[in-house]
Assembly symmetry: C2
């Protein structure tokens, strides 16, 4: 695992990763993939995966090379994910790559899809192509953590977005919370909404803020789905989030009449009653989302649902915007059960920290789960 | 103010700043100053201010050059603070510099001491030496914020050190707080104690943790003073912080007998009763500290005293160590009065963020006050 990577491979793979990042909002449920084809330090063609049904990154790059009149024979192809080996909505990319005849293929990570898992690379090797793998594995995994999570454990990668004061308060004692953080932090939060497959909130937030829950501060041709955890099925039928886009309502109670009326507003009601009356089975909800091809879940909720999801083990990562302000005795960020020993506290790992306008964005994730994704994404 | 700095000046001034940082723990109440003398890209001599009574940085650098057999004639002298022009414990450095005959002197900031304030530079100019000023002003101010604060406003620069979970909790509901952050964060906290002039705590902390309040995790030849805010003068006479080093007890109540017994343990009792019975006048305490040549105050206290100092306007900066852990419903970081509007919240400015072991260190300061220090430190 400690083999040194060729500096040229690093440079080109980073270009492929940058291409993958240009399609963060559009490829789901497929992974975001970038591809660059290079010979003698010159780009012959490049591309990124198109929306579902459209060509994958490798095909885009091969077509780009063809359009430029370039032969790919003997070149090196850099791709951020192992080329697929199965017929999905499109034919296998590994066959198309092999047919184009590059001398070498460099991949950042394996495809954890059980239908691929090494078979893409095996096909390339069988065609006499040299393969180098695991180049920039961690950067590639950052881009597709949700896809890897769904493929390897059947459950999406879920984060909670929170905004708080430096002393960890998410609202004043009187409930006022708009706006603790600045405009730049809100726009950054919308970029995380835009990349997700579903924006999930709770009834407390619906009743208090009546949010639209859509993506506004960034441009995106695809909108994530919206979802509400509503154990009592008490959602007001005129809530602002019913704006024509599909809304999923996870509930513990059935009411066929209300469900029918909401269906007319493009709401889909999913009953997943938990052990406690009136409470949704949150782990079952995450499994449901995985089964329905949701890769990434963006939670933007109050301390109640945020704390419940955290306690139920449904959260993989925290996305915390901290404002340089002190609020003192006010609302907590997450409602969690009392613990008696610090050893019992949920321990995460800080990843990147960024200054966003006057605020800070902190990210912290479950390192054990991240390591499991890494294992699933690594080529053997 | 937007003149471009010569790149060579930047390089040498940064070396002088690095020298100043080597004496962070030892020069108080004097400023930490570094000096490098250069000719044709070669160091002729360099030095940093010695403990009080010892030579200042410029004298150390001149002596270093002499010891190397180097003449300073026609050279450039870089110093992080304007050379002094008055007789303090030592004779004026400006005269010694002028006598050595460098062609040019570059300073990072002016000396805000009313006895100097531009006169040092004026003496140099009068001796025919070219002077360039305000080179790396902000970096220089970071090193001596406390000295500038005391000289310009009569009050030390004060920060509160806090350790908290990612959700802003400083202890569990049962009071357990050792240790939320890791060993590296505690050592970093001790480096901040070591640079300060006084480590200040409250009676809550004395009773709960019985701290020694000394510097342990870093090496320092000088220990900061210790101080306790103890309105009721209730401190146990066998508290562990009475270990022979001087302790200042700020109180609102007098008890000559107890004061005499504590004096035998090297405690000095200072009565500064506030408006509220049994409460110390905190702003008066900060003025007292300024009058007694304390530059930097390191507060390490509970949410009560921390919040009271913050509310009284006595805190300039927060030093927050955040652990990547969630504690949920537990003790708040600061006890502050309830506010009704976010506009009424105390707004600070984030400065640097650092990863310290598994934890993060966030710094946030009052930007208006920082600008005032900057004004006081700028050469005209």
């Amino acid at each position: 695992m400690t083999t040194l990577t060729d500096p040229d491979d690093l440079i080109w793979m980073r270009r492929a990763l940058a291409l993958a990042r240009t399609v963060m909002y559009t490829t789901t449920p497929n992974p975001r993939v970038g591809c660059v084809i290079v010979r003698d330090g010159r780009v012959l063609g490049e591309g990124a995966t198109q929306p579902p049904g459209g060509p994958h990154a490798e095909i885009c790059a091969l077509r780009d090379a063809a359009a430029r009149g370039e032969s790919v024979q003997g070149a090196t192809l850099y791709v951020t994910l192992e080329p697929c080996s199965h017929y999905g909505r499109t034919p296998p990319c590994a066959d198309a790559v092999a047919a184009a005849g590059p001398a070498r293929v460099v991949v950042a990570m394996g495809d954890p899809n059980p239908q691929v898992r090494g078979q893409g690379l095996a096909r390339l090797r069988a065609a006499g192509i040299a393969v180098t793998s695991n180049v920039c594995l961690d950067e590639a995994l950052e881009i597709n953590a949700g896809f890897v999570a769904r493929m390897s454990r059947g459950i999406p990668w879920a984060w909670v977005k929170m905004a708080a004061s430096l002393d960890g308060r998410s609202a004043l004692h009187n409930g006022v919370s708009q706006w603790i953080t600045g405009e730049a932090a809100r726009a950054d939060g919308h970029a995380w909404r835009a990349r997700s497959c579903v924006v999930l909130t709770g009834m407390g937030t619906v009743l208090k803020d009546n949010p639209r829950l859509n993506v506004r501060a960034v441009e995106t041709p695809r909108a994530p789905r919206k979802a509400v955890v509503d154990g009592d099925f008490a959602i007001p039928e005129d809530a602002r989030l019913f704006d024509g886009a599909e809304v999923i309502i996870f509930t513990a109670r059935t009411d066929a009449g209300k469900a029918a009326r909401l269906a007319a507003r493009n709401a889909r009601v999913v009953a997943l009653p938990g052990q406690q009356a009136g409470r949704v089975d949150l782990p079952a909800m995450m499994r449901w989302l995985g089964e329905h091809e949701f890769n990434e879940v963006h939670v933007e909720a109050g301390a109640g649902l945020g704390g419940a999801l955290m306690s139920a083990g449904c959260i993989d990562e925290l996305l915390v915007y901290l404002a340089p302000v002190l609020l003192g005795d006010a609302a907590a960020m997450l409602r969690l059960p009392l613990i008696e020993h610090l050893d019992h506290a949920r321990r995460l790992e800080f990843t990147d920290t960024a200054r966003i306008g006057p605020d800070l964005r902190l990210r912290a994730r479950d390192s054990t789960r991240w390591q499991a994704l890494r294992e699933a994404a690594m080529c053997r």
